[in-house]
């Protein structure tokens, strides 16, 4: 409550830029240089590293084709975005929080997946696909499976 009152009496608009110090300029400058170089690095390495992650993640599914069908329904219903890297990074980030790594054993990987999924349900991070309520992690896996499947399906 006190904080709220402070904000009301503060002239700063929430969206207004913060004052920039000399130290910030140095840090931001360095970050900008790295950012400029990143696309080139990603471009050179991205396809391999991203597909590596996808393969590892999709190995968690006994029937990726079934998951891909759910993913396609989700795309059609809710248009959640179709960039593979978004799903890969998000899934990897979530799973890592539960002890997963690309080199994890299948048992450990499944334990991490189960824990991530359960945590999603517990905290209400859910997605609706064909009225079924899924954990966000499950939906992301389905989306990833669908995108990978598309890459392997010759266009008509």
């Amino acid at each position: 409550m006190a904080k709220h009152m402070e904000t009301e009496h503060d002239d700063a608009h929430p969206a207004a830029p913060h004052p920039v110090s000399r130290r910030d300029v140095v840090v931001l400058g360095g970050t900008a240089l790295i950012a400029a170089a990143l696309p080139a690095l990603l471009f050179r390495r991205a396809p391999k590293s991203l597909s590596f992650d996808a393969d590892v993640l999709l190995k968690l599914l006994a029937d990726p084709e079934a998951a891909a069908k759910l993913g396609e329904i989700w795309f059609a219903e809710s248009r959640p975005g179709e960039t593979r890297a978004v799903y890969e990074t998000r899934l990897a980030r979530r799973l890592r929080a539960f002890g997963w790594s690309p080199s994890a054993t299948p048992e450990l990987a499944h334990r991490a997946l189960a824990a991530t999924t359960r945590a999603d349900y517990r905290t209400g991070r859910m997605v609706e696909i064909e009225k079924w309520q899924f954990a966000e992690t499950e939906a992301d896996l389905c989306a990833l499976a669908a995108l990978v499947m598309r890459e392997h399906t010759p266009e008509a």
Partner: protein, 513 residues
């Protein structure tokens, strides 16, 4: 003793200690409790011993809100609506009696603890062989409750009455009671108060055959059901123009039901063996017939500021890869079910055994609480029945908040199933901007003469006495300030027994001389 009102000489006046209007679950329960007490009782019933179409037609009325089967949801003969009662019993939850700051107009003037001893007695009246409504260990022979995750959903139990047909079961008791005269085929055409409106002076009765007679009671109990209780008070307006007990305009307001949604969701479970027998249907266990249900915990309801919902399982079938083609006609989306189960088995559930079933699909039914709403109400129609009395006009109103609550509760169920890991939930009840049509109802008429300590907020006080009147009491589910989620009969019988005790003690004290 039974007396056919059609044979009473026209113009007769019957003097009695107590008149009970309505021989349904409440009226019969009170008459039985006071049988042999020395209190003379006139039990007044509109119908006879059997269904009669002309008498039943007195229930016909006018609809102004959500469509509702006003006539067919009730029965107008000895035994009342228990003549088609399904027998589902369960007490209201302790929280249902509390004032909840997120539920406008909530709060009973009595507590569940106060009613508990009467629930025990009501269980006997309803011929229950157990009252283990909350104790899964009592039904362990039927399996274990589902180990759903979290603290939001709980397994509880309905216990079935045979069902008790009060008219058939207790007719011999009424017949044998020397102090009870039951007037059949006799309709109350007006409860006439004294000039100052403070006491009931007499009841004007009439039969469809044209006989008119009167009953002069020291005390009167109105126990004609939640719709008819309000109607009778409203048309008893020769002295009080707005109707009896209606100086604050509350009579007829706050009509509630339990909206029933036949298929609000679908469950998938990987292993049907985990779904205990008692969830699936009427299950005979230890000499009782019970059914497991899901309710939402008080902590969850407080935290989320929602109304209650009760859910039971419905039809089930095994899900295989062929489910889509087999069930496709009944449910075009059935082909998705195997995909869902495969995904669940990949993420949280046990892998499918070689050659084993993917899982099972279970249907779900539910009944939900609705917010008390003053605009959901009974008034009088301009149309008249064959006795010349105004018919009922019912405007049942549901609110967006009622729908939001149900939808939110279904999402909580999806969380509990998903985090458990062996189940998933499909929610079929959509989000709604308004709720103008009911998919179903429970034939549970609630509210209309609500209990409240403050006369401005209700029609009767905590002793079921009409505010401002010394000798008019009300029994039945019209008393409920809030409806909870479960079937009302057990509670209305408990309240009737409590009222019987109260009146017995008041008569013994000479309060009504």
């Amino acid at each position: 003793m039974f007396i056919d009102g059609r044979n009473v000489p026209d113009g007769t006046t019957v003097e009695t200690d107590l008149a009970i209007i309505g021989a349904g679950a409440a009226g019969i329960s009170i008459a039985r409790e006071l049988a042999g007490s020395g209190i003379s009782i006139a039990l007044i019933e509109s119908g006879g011993f059997e269904f009669d179409a002309d008498t039943q037609a007195l229930y016909e009325g006018e609809m102004a809100g959500v469509e509702y089967p006003m006539a067919s949801s009730r029965l107008r003969y000895f035994g009342g609506t228990t003549n088609h009662w399904g027998g589902w019993t369960r007490p209201l939850e302790p929280m249902d009696f509390e004032e909840r700051d997120w539920v406008p107009h909530s709060g009973w003037p009595i507590t569940r603890a106060l009613l508990d001893p009467y629930y025990e007695r009501a269980a006997d009246v309803c011929q229950l062989r157990s009252t283990a409504f909350d104790d899964a260990s009592a039904w362990a022979e039927g399996g274990e409750p589902l180990p759903l995750a979290g603290d939001e959903v709980m397994t509880r139990f309905f216990i079935y009455s045979p069902p008790t047909r009060f008219g058939k079961k207790y007719r011999p008791d009424i017949e044998a009671a020397k102090n009870v005269a039951c007037y059949l085929n006799s309709n109350v055409m007006e409860i006439v108060p004294t000039e100052n409106g403070a006491r009931v002076e007499r009841l004007r009765l009439g039969t469809l055959s044209g006989v008119r007679f009167e009953v002069k009671p020291k005390v009167c109990i109105l126990a004609a059901g939640a719709i008819e209780n309000a109607r009778i008070l409203l048309y008893s307006n020769s002295i009080e123009p707005a109707g009896l007990g209606n100086r604050n305009g509350n009579v007829g307001r706050f009509f509630m039901e339990h909206p029933h949604i036949p298929s609000p969701a679908t469950f998938l479970v990987t292993d049907p063996e985990q779904v205990a027998r008692f969830y699936r249907t009427y299950t005979k266990l230890d000499n009782s017939v019970v059914r497991g249900c899901f309710l939402f915990t008080p902590d969850y309801l407080r935290r989320t500021r929602r109304l209650g919902t009760v859910l039971t399982f419905g039809m089930s079938y095994a899900v295989t890869d062929a489910t889509g083609s087999e069930e496709g006609q009944r449910d075009p989306a059935a082909w998705v079910q195997p995909l869902v189960l495969k995904l669940a088995r990949d993420t949280t559930a046990a892998p499918v055994a070689a050659g084993g079933e993917l899982g099972w699909r279970l249907g779900v039914g539910c009944a939900s609480e609705q917010q008390p709403n003053p605009a959901s109400r009974i008034t009088l129609s301009d149309d008249k029945d064959p006795l010349g009395l105004p018919r009922t006009r019912l405007a049942w109103r549901l609110r967006k908040a009622d729908a939001d609550s149900l939808r939110g509760n279904l999402e909580a169920l999806a969380r509990a199933f998903g985090a458990w890991g062996e189940g998933r939930v499909r929610i079929l009840f959509p989000e709604r901007d308004e709720w103008t049509e009911a998919e179903g109802w429970g034939n549970h008429h609630l509210g209309t003469t609500r209990m409240a300590s403050d006369p401005k907020k209700g029609v009767v006080d905590a002793d079921c006495a009409v505010h401002g009147m010394s000798n008019l009491f009300i029994a039945g589910s019209s008393l409920y300030p809030t409806g909870g989620t479960v079937n009302p009969t057990l509670t209305l019988v408990a309240l009737a027994l409590r009222l019987a005790d109260h009146l017995k003690s008041r008569f013994e004290q000479g309060a009504f001389i």
